[in-house]
């Protein structure tokens, strides 16, 4: 039987638990991050160096979904200090007042060295890396190769092409807006985009890029919407090629923002500055095939002509109007679900 003393000790411990947790969190930076090889590199290289330099602990949450967790946490005590997502989700949380539109640039000296697109009006926070969304295809099966986004609709690829579930995946959403431009008056031409989706069938749709990569690698598909990062990573193993369509490639931005109400503002800005440093930009480009955002990057020979580092290459990047897209997302989801179900 528990004695009165043990009961009192237990009660005191329980009551003190939040304070203990709070004390442990005092010098902890809580951020979001990707899994897979990004996660490995982050854990082995990026985080330990930052922790040593700033004498802190960095807690990286790689378990999706980030936005509902941020939404569910108290406004004055956000579950994250720095949010790393793609641009569509950054706009979604910004419109709910959960992240700052732009970090304090005076605390981020490395922001002086980045391309303007990384802080353009189409972006919440700051972009640290970019992938280019284009068309991936099997060299051994597709001849002549695609040159335009419109080629995805070519009848020869019926049943051999792939894209994404538009309600769930930002690459699918970007492709949807691109269809509005290719077949209509612009990215916001919903009617043209819906009509284009009708003509895109038969097509295989995936939740994640991992599924698309697997289908292309296994030869189940000949052509599909994919980013250059994934395509170049697999090129040595299979005859996979990346096409940057003549209309331009769509920017898949890896953006960082500071959350509203964070108690770790200084560390949060230091982390963003760190991710924009030359060492980290080079590491992520040369290990994971992400295009850096710094203007002064000269990468090894094998990356030249592939990753977007020069002003001319960067000029081919198209930034989508994500804030607008989020405002019509429910309408788009409902309609495309009917199109691809039917």
């Amino acid at each position: 039987m528990p004695t009165r003393r043990t009961l009192l000790a237990g009660t005191a411990g329980t009551l003190a638990f939040p304070a203990i947790v709070g004390a442990q969190a005092a010098n902890t930076l809580r951020i979001t991050g990707w899994g897979g090889r990004w996660g490995e590199l982050s854990r082995q290289e990026l985080v330990p160096a930052f922790e040593r330099e700033f004498r802190c602990r960095v807690e990286v949450d790689t378990a999706f979904p980030f936005v509902p967790k941020l939404l569910a946490s108290p406004r004055g005590r956000p579950v994250y200090d720095v949010l790393h997502t793609n641009s569509n989700e950054q706009w979604s949380v910004f419109d709910r007042g959960l992240v700052q539109r732009r970090p304090n640039l005076s605390l981020i000296p490395n922001a002086q060295a980045i391309y303007p697109y990384a802080m353009s009006d189409q972006v919440v926070g700051i972009v640290m890396f970019t992938s280019a969304i284009g068309i991936a295809y099997r060299r051994d099966r597709v001849n002549p190769p695609p040159v335009s986004w419109g080629d995805l609709w070519d009848a020869r690829f019926a049943g051999q092409r792939g894209s994404y579930l538009i309600p769930a995946n930002s690459l699918g959403q970007a492709m949807f807006m691109m269809a509005g431009r290719v077949f209509g008056s612009g990215y916001r031409d919903l009617d043209a985009a819906f009509a284009a989706m009708e003509r895109l069938r038969p097509i295989r749709l995936f939740d994640f890029t991992g599924g698309m990569e697997n289908a292309l690698l296994a030869g189940e598909l000949s052509i599909g919407v994919l980013h250059d990062t994934a395509t170049y990573r697999h090129q040595e193993r299979v005859p996979l090629e990346f096409c940057a369509p003549r209309e331009g490639v769509i920017a898949l931005e890896q953006a960082l923002s500071v959350t509203e109400g964070t108690q770790m503002g200084e560390l949060a800005h230091a982390w963003i500055n760190y991710m924009l440093s030359e060492r980290v930009q080079r590491l992520m480009a040369e290990e994971l095939w992400f295009s850096p955002v710094r203007r002064d990057m000269v990468l090894a020979e094998r990356f030249r002509g592939k990753l977007l580092t020069t002003p001319e290459q960067v000029a081919t990047l198209i930034q989508m109007p994500w804030q607008w897209y989020n405002s019509v997302k429910d309408r788009v989801d409902e309609r495309v679900n009917r199109i691809f179900r039917g």
Binding site: G39, V60, A72
Partner: protein
């Protein structure tokens, strides 16, 4: 007639086991992507899984959580079942419905609600909160199986023990527990499996660096698509088979097969 019966049974078994067979095919396929038919036999994905620090940590955490869930949910579920079945409490049906409600609600809502509660109380996301979430989901399974056994056992046996001078503790240990053992074991088995495979609740409650195996597999699948996931799934399946065989060897499945 017999041939038709066998054909239907064969079809049902094939339907149930085909996904398992496909996972095994993928796990031993040497190709760095999921493809059918396999081009050979290789254990490289098992090696990658078993030498991965992340996967092994997640696997270990899932095992520990499963065991702790069995202990806690098993105790709570059994105690609640006894109170409901033998305690003469008012509103027994309502109490049963409340205890069973976690399996009626979508688990993702339970996970989200627990996450919000932990945030509002300032508890953060710790392994204890995760364990609490697993127990909330597992208790109804134990409760249900123990209640089923209690419904078929005669309370007069326990009353007789008490009448012959046994204390409540002795009557429970010597009479009630042996009677309800099949239900407790079945409930514990369910509790372990529910915890080990738990995804929706863990999705919200895992803390950074403390991912369970299903969450680690989901995160991996989003960015990499090789056979490591199939190898991880195979190990999970083998674990479940070993668990059932272990129970069969030590306690015997016949006892709770009657449930």
């Amino acid at each position: 007639m017999r041939a038709a019966f066998l054909a239907v049974n064969g079809a049902v078994i094939a339907f149930l086991l085909t996904p398992v067979a496909i996972v095994l095919f993928f796990a031993v396929n040497p190709e760095p992507f999921i493809a059918f038919p396999p081009t050979g036999v290789s254990f490289r994905w098992f090696e990658k899984f078993l030498t991965s620090r992340d996967f092994m940590a997640a696997f270990g955490l899932s095992l520990v959580l499963g065991a702790a869930t069995v202990a806690i949910a098993g105790t709570l579920g059994t105690a609640a079942a006894l109170a409901i079945a033998r305690g003469g409490l008012p509103g027994r049906r309502t109490l049963t419905a409340i205890f069973l409600s976690p399996i009626v609600l979508p688990a993702i809502l339970t996970g989200f609600a627990l996450f919000q509660l932990a945030m509002v109380l300032g508890l953060g996301r710790t392994v204890w909160i995760l364990l609490a979430g697993h127990c909330v989901i597992a208790v109804p399974y134990v409760l249900r199986t123990v209640l089923a056994v209690l419904a078929h056992s005669d309370p007069a046996l326990e009353e007789a023990a008490r009448g012959l001078g046994a204390t409540p503790a002795v009557a429970f240990r010597e009479v009630t527990l042996p009677l309800i053992r099949p239900g407790v074991i079945a409930g514990a088995l369910f509790a372990f499996i529910v915890s080990f495979d738990q995804f929706p609740v863990s999705l919200f409650l895992v803390s950074p660096g403390n991912e369970t195996l299903p969450i680690a597999m989901f995160n991996y699948l989003r960015f990499d698509s090789d056979g490591t996931i199939a190898a991880a799934s195979t190990v999970s399946i083998l674990l479940a088979v070993l668990l059932v065989l272990g129970i069969e060897r030590t306690i015997g499945l016949q006892e709770y097969a009657r449930l």
